[in-house]
Amino acid sequence: MSKKLWGLLALLLAFMLVLAACNGDEKETSSTDEGTKTEDTTKSEGNEEGTEEEAEEPAAEDSDALFPLSVENEGDAISGGTLKVAMSKDEPFQGIFSYVLYEDAYDAEILAYASNSLFETDGDFLLTDEGIASMEVDQDNNKVLVKIREGVKWSDGEPLKVEDLIQPYLIIGHKDYTGVRYDVDFQNIIGAVEYHDGKADTISGLKKLDETTLEISFNKLSPAIFSGGDGIWTYAEPSHIVKDIPVAELVESDAVRKNPVTLGAFIIDKIVPGESVQLVANENYWKGKPKLDGVLIKVVPTSSISVALQQGEYDVAISFNASKMEEVKDFDNIDILGRQELYYSYLGFKLGKYDYDNSVVVTDVEGSKMGDVKLRQAMGYALDVEQVAEVFYNNLRERANSLIPPVFASFYDDSLEGYTYDPDKAAALLDEAGFKDVDGDGIREDKEGKPFEIKFATMSGDDIAEDITQFYMQNWKDVGLNVTLTTGRTIEFNSFYDKVQADDPEIDIFMAAWGTGTNPSPAGLYSKTAEYNFSRYSSDFLEETLTNIDSPKAFDADYRAEQFRAWQEYMAEQAPIIPTMYRYELVPVNKRVKNWNIDYANPTELQDIELVSDTAVKSTK
């Protein structure tokens, strides 16, 4: 009997171990990762920082970076071959293969292989002249000339025309268009609103000057135009295919769902809805036919992505969850490339309300519980973000010092000190501000000596999210602040943003994150009119700086960079929002792949990718 019992116990224990190991995976899959979604309006390839850990052939320039940006594997390239790409994801992809219509970043990642992108970008995500089209900005007349290269062909052999550049505007501006891209920026194009309202048959601001040149007239221009902002659309649509499809039916049409005609290195050949996409080399690609025969992209559940990589089932993994790093770091058949994402998480303080009737932020610093700048600064210094990054994220995140991710090298202010962990300084600031512990219970009272409670809203997610929340609350308690959770627990994503947007009085401080997109202009998140200015903080100086950043004067790059710095310093000092962490994106690449580079400034050219063996390389560990 006892023998049996022991056997059973051993078995149970074994299962529990497996369970514990798997449990983490399960939970992560359901988290919405702090509820950020990024949608790049320009191209989503590349980075700037990079280097070694176990230096392979790293494109090393910056010794701070944790991972190499590129890899070159030894061996003679085989001719052709199919690159197998794993898209680590627990749900089917949506499968909207159109730049004007897609909403999900995963669709964009697939589309990148077929790309209709007209421009290429540099390390700051500014448009360059290297791509299919080049741009000439006439600042005085608010006009832009877009010129396309001669001889560029669609994947079906049809030449690229100026009409193909106009077509996407006609779709987005159409009254039947139900996507998010008909926005304030788009309405900056002269005639866009009239076309949308049905008062005009076409957009008057778009003029075909000759067979290769399009002239676009704007109401106003800002430096954002160089980031693909201000309403300019940086992708082409095959007008010979889509112009006859009613806009309302486009999203369900075969031209979007089954066989989109594209300009990129590969052509979407076959799709199993939600599961996999087969692409073949585009004979007509303007940079030359790709060396690979094709690319196969498959959705691989996050629970088995590590094993799949170990077995060499895939050559590259995209949207790889960085928390899997521990599982894959010992595999000897892959190299792990990494780059910083266009992302920051932050701690926000409610300092006012949004007046939805007049679309304006009403800041009330004096009347807000968090109104004292020293209190805000102290709360920043009290957080041991460094330890969270190290312990909970294995250093795959790092403490943020600025609201501009370092990826934007020209705009990022690396001299900012930020809120490094310093509980003594926090305590000193609180003492100075008059938050003292009057009754001797270890918890500070407010300036009048009344009990002081700070309501903290944060999102639920994986187990880590809960642990980190508790950790931060302990940090604050250590400096004598009584922080309690809004609603008593962490809040589900939708509910969280509902409350934050509505300026729920139960929220004094909140933690969230932004994926910043490729346009670094902070106006959309911090200006007086921005609904997404969740801290509801605004001041004359802030408004002025934000206006300067996007002013005509800022066409001068030095001036713009200077204004960016002024803004970052001001925000750090006033602390209405304290950035907490930047995040790394990891890309595991199998040894079978000859060359791969994820530098934002200089990504691998898809047509140049090669394989060095017919079969995948398995890990021996």
């Binding site: 979604k37 809805p273 939600g274 559940p301 799949a308 089932e313 939708n494 997109g517």
Partner: protein, 320 residues
């Protein structure tokens, strides 16, 4: 009997109506809406508000409900906010996947469970019986995702006996023999996993029924007439012991469409379970309501089917 069936079907109409009202109100009570997830610094909040208005989400709930029910009555369940295709098309795709997967699992389940149950019952208290009972407890106790992952790692990634993700290999064209085989091949491992996890109830019911039946009068009569033991088991005991299993056969049939979130997620198999959960998370109202209505209808139908099946299998039961 027919009268009863018609009456039960007619009663379903008000039941479903109440269900639709409940789910509609409850779905709208959830915080956020399908557009909350579009929040990025690049999206214009005014445009999102416009889209809400266009989608009718700013109307009072009863207006939305009437619009929805009028359209639904004409067979138009609306469009998915997430996938931007007709709800009927979306559910159709997933339901087909789930239906075949569940059917294969049920077949495998009975292929495993019935022999085990019969043997355990017949050779009660032997070593064989103990092994079966042990097997039942282990498979009952082990969480779905643990077993699914273990099977996937062993049979999929280590031994390469089965494909590891998806419902079909992309290289085959729809409708060809290769395509059908590939679909079946992709189903086997998830179906086997589901089957192994679900055998306990059937095994235990069958085993205890058989043990009970062994000492009943009709078995002793049969034995005393000189009928061989094997025949007594196969002809007399087996049929009677299947009754409790037949009792939930109706639910088993309609349950074929429910799907399992764990199995679908781990095997990357797009099915109904996953669709339901993700539609809840993304507040895809049109999909949520359609699925709840479908599941509700299936539950009602399942109980009716079970009653009908019982009356056929067991002549002592009559539906009045």
């Amino acid at each position: 009997m027919w009268k009863t069936i018609v009456r039960r079907v007619l009663i379903m109409i008000p039941q479903l109506f109440v269900l639709s009202l409940l789910i509609f109100i409850m779905a709208k009570q959830l915080p956020g809406d399908p557009f909350t997830g579009l929040l990025t610094p690049d999206t214009d909040p005014n445009r999102i508000e416009e889209l809400r208005e266009l989608a009718g989400l700013n109307d009072p709930w009863y207006v939305q409900y009437v619009n929805w029910i009028v359209n639904a009555a004409q067979g138009d369940l609306g469009k998915s906010y997430t996938y931007k295709i007709k709800v009927s098309t979306l559910i159709g795709e997933r339901a087909l996947n789930t239906f075949w997967l569940s059917l294969v699992s049920v077949i495998i389940l009975y292929l495993i469970a019935i022999p085990l149950g019969v043997l355990a019952g017949r050779y009660q208290d032997t070593f064989l019986d103990k092994i079966v009972v042990f097997y039942s407890f282990v498979t009952y106790a082990i969480p779905t995702f643990v077993l699914a992952l273990i099977f996937l790692f062993i049979f999929g990634y280590q031994l390469h006996w089965f494909p590891t993700v998806g419902s079909v290999d992309i290289k085959y064209d729809t409708g060809t023999a290769g395509y059908i085989w590939s679909k079946l091949y992709h189903m086997l491992l998830p179906a086997f996993t589901t089957a192994v996890l679900g055998t306990t109830a059937v095994v235990q019911y069958l085993r205890s029924e058989i043990i009970d039946a062994k000492s009943l009068d009709y078995v002793r009569t049969a034995r005393s007439k000189g009928i061989p033991v094997n025949k007594v088991y196969s002809r007399h005991i087996f049929r009677n012991s299947l009754l409790p299993i037949a009792a939930f056969l109706g639910f088993t049939i309609t349950g074929l469409l429910a799907g399992s979130i764990f199995i679908e997620t781990i095997f990357g198999y797009p099915g109904m379970g996953q669709l339901f959960i993700s539609s809840l998370v993304s507040r895809d109202y049109s999909v949520i309501t359609a699925l709840v209505m479908l599941f509700g209808f299936l539950a009602l139908l399942g109980s009716l089917l079970s009653d009908i099946i019982m009356s056929i299998v067991d002549p002592r039961i009559r539906i009045e």
